[in-house]
Amino acid sequence: MADLTLQLLGLQLFTGIALGALYVLLAIGLSLIFGMLTVVNFAHGAFYMLGAYVGLWLLMHGVNFWTALILVPLAIGALGLLVERTLIRPLYGRGLDYPLLLTFGLSYMIVELVRVFFGNTGYPVDTPDVLQGAVDIGVGYFPLYRLFVIAATVVVLVGLWLFLERTSFGLIVRAGARDPEIVRILGVNIARVWLIVFGIGTGLAGLAGLLAAPLQGVIPEMGGPILAESFVVTVVGGMGSLLGAVVAGLLVGVVVSMTSLFAPEMSRVAIFALMAIVLLLRPQGFFGRAGLMS
């Protein structure tokens, strides 16, 4: 392949990181929720899609993109709170499968409700004016908006890290992820922690959806494939591990991007092949604790 230069590889790497950034945002939410609540949120893709649609709705009503970046995670997070409080909480103690099944049914409803209000067809979303165009990043021109997606993800990650490391609430969350029983014995209101963690997780999914909207437009079905891919990320990174979600998210993004260069039609299979390999060699994932799942 004569056209394969170092420059091209560099650009491809950046593209993969931008793609991975979205996986990271989704997988962190999934992992956080799983680590604390032992709930696999099958509606995570639906929240992601809803984030994109709420963002679109705000933009259509004259709200600017920057305000939407704040409002969308808040709105989807609030919806997450509502869902946890009213639908998921009654299911704790009934077996791990029930919350999963419930969120699965919920995703059906969310997708269909969006179809009712916004139609089947989907919409394009314009890139915000100041983020249009491409900039020279040393290896070639790269779309500014994609750099912004990477930057926004970094900001969110740093914020989340500070929150978890520096606040007493974060301490509880981290302890709760290790051992919910101990936390409960210590007299912490674990139900409230679970509620808030679910809200944070869905809020992050909503934010990812909004960030993705100018890249792909919005469509009711957009949450489906990315949910399966985010599962792969969490499995590869290790369920419940935030660091794992970040590393695996970026890795999956880069793997997709690089396979796209050499064998585009295999880029989808590559994600799942990666997961199969990791499962064979290290069933608990990169940073997962062995035995957590048995």
Partner: protein, 407 residues
């Protein structure tokens, strides 16, 4: 939407009567007086808007037929079914239409896999079917059913016509980017067939997975190849996303982007920016009414029935697909397939876009391909394309009957 709900409910009433009891077969017999046209299209799913336009246009054909006396007083009726863009569902709906509703004809589909599924069902059960979405496979002897006609263009015809225009106008260094499924492959084959004769140089032939949401991983490489023409063969949302991302990456500055098919509804939904300057093909664009009288008449009728709306490309195919069956049946005075088939094969018609006829060997409608360019029309303006050329195809532009496996 509202409109469509009405037609669906009407269909339900008829079905309900037929289903009320298995012992009411004599009533069903009496109802055989109406000519039933089964119409499976994907009302739900991403092409719902397109499907609803197909229903509207099909209803125009039904209304015209009934107003002009029907078939010896027999009126026609459209039975709309939702195939959900799923071949399994489409096959089940086709079986329902045949078994329970006892339809005379089936017209419909909006994807290759769905039309092949319906074709499979109708072929074995000897029911007339007119397919109104693009596929090369349906022309091949392996899939051929003498009960099936193909009113839509096929990728070979479309890709060929657009290729002939684009390679002579914009240059011969070409990159192909296509969705990795039959439609994409067939389109590329269509482009390559004319490209070979014109001496194009293929710099890369890139396939992306169907339903891809991020093409950014492919675009830097395409930019680095510096082609004259980038041929993007994908459909619907894939097309919309790739055009947007290609615009963002600045590809349009250095190359001409060409797509085999530009959809009217997709262009209206997506807005001007992503599509601006993109050249492609279509079976129909309403702007044809400036030069072609039958297009004018069809558009006017459509406007009148639907408050000034304009028909889309795939919608219009439904009009022609329903109308050819009804007209052929009227000619021979019966809906008996064995009588209708020769009438269809002999039909020379100009219903909405200029002259057409069905080729004998594969029942493919020989017709024109319009070469159009998307222009920077303000939102709300329905005039979104310029017609650059009208390529009136002859049988020589189709794959030959031998090539398709007919002897």
């Amino acid at each position: 939407m509202k409109n469509n709900g009405l037609t669906r409910r009407q269909a339900v009433v008829a079905t309900g009567a037929a289903l009320a009891s298995p012992f009411l077969f004599n009533i069903a017999r009496a109802e055989a007086a109406t000519i039933k046209v089964g119409f499976p299209v994907p009302l739900t799913g991403p092409y719902g808007a397109e499907a609803q336009d197909q229903v509207r246009a099909a209803q125009v054909a039904i209304a015209e037929f009934n107003e002009t006396g029907g078939l010896k007083g027999r009126r026609a009726e459209l039975l709309v079914r939702d195939d959900k863009l799923n071949p399994g569902e489409a096959a089940t709906r086709a079986l329902e239409l045949i078994e329970s509703d006892k339809v005379d004809f089936i017209v419909g589909s909006l994807s290759a896999s769905v039309q092949l599924a319906v074709n499979n069902v109708t072929k074995v059960r000897k029911v007339l079917y007119n397919s109104i979405s693009q596929s090369d496979a349906i022309n091949e002897a392996k899939e051929f059913s003498r009960y099936t006609f193909h009113e839509a263009l096929n990728p070979h015809m479309t890709g060929g016509a657009v290729g002939r225009y684009a390679f002579s106008k914009y240059g011969k260094r070409v990159v192909f980017l296509s969705a990795d499924y039959a439609y994409g492959h067939e389109m590329v084959r269509g482009f390559q067939a004319v490209g070979k004769a014109m001496g194009i140089e293929t710099l890369a032939d890139i396939r992306h997975p169907l339903g891809a949401t991020d093409f950014s991983a492919l675009l830097p490489r395409i930019q680095a190849l510096k082609p004259d023409v980038l041929v993007i063969s994908n459909f619907g949302r894939d097309q919309q996303i790739v055009l947007k991302q290609a615009t963002d990456f600045g590809l349009k500055k250095s190359m001409k982007i060409v797509a085999p098919i530009l959809l009217y509804t997709a262009r209206i939904a997506a807005g001007a920016k992503a599509f601006e300057g993109v050249v492609g093909g279509t079976s129909y664009y309403w702007g044809l009414e400036k030069t072609i009288p039958s297009a004018r008449a069809f558009n006017d009728r459509f406007r009148k029935m639907y408050n000034g709306r304009l028909p889309s490309d795939y919608g219009s195919l439904a009009y022609a697909g329903v109308k050819t069956f009804l007209m052929a049946a009227r000619q021979v005075g019966t809906t008996d397939p064995e009588a209708v088939i020769p009438a269809m094969e002999a039909l020379k018609y100009d219903y909405y876009k200029g002259p057409e006829y069905y080729r004998k060997c594969d029942h493919q409608a020989v017709q024109s391909v319009l070469i159009i360019e998307s222009k920077n029309a303000p939102p709300g303006d329905p005039d979104v394309f310029n017609i650059l050329a009208i390529d009136q195809l002859s049988e020589a532009d189709l794959r030959s009957c031998q090539e398709l496996g007919f002897h």
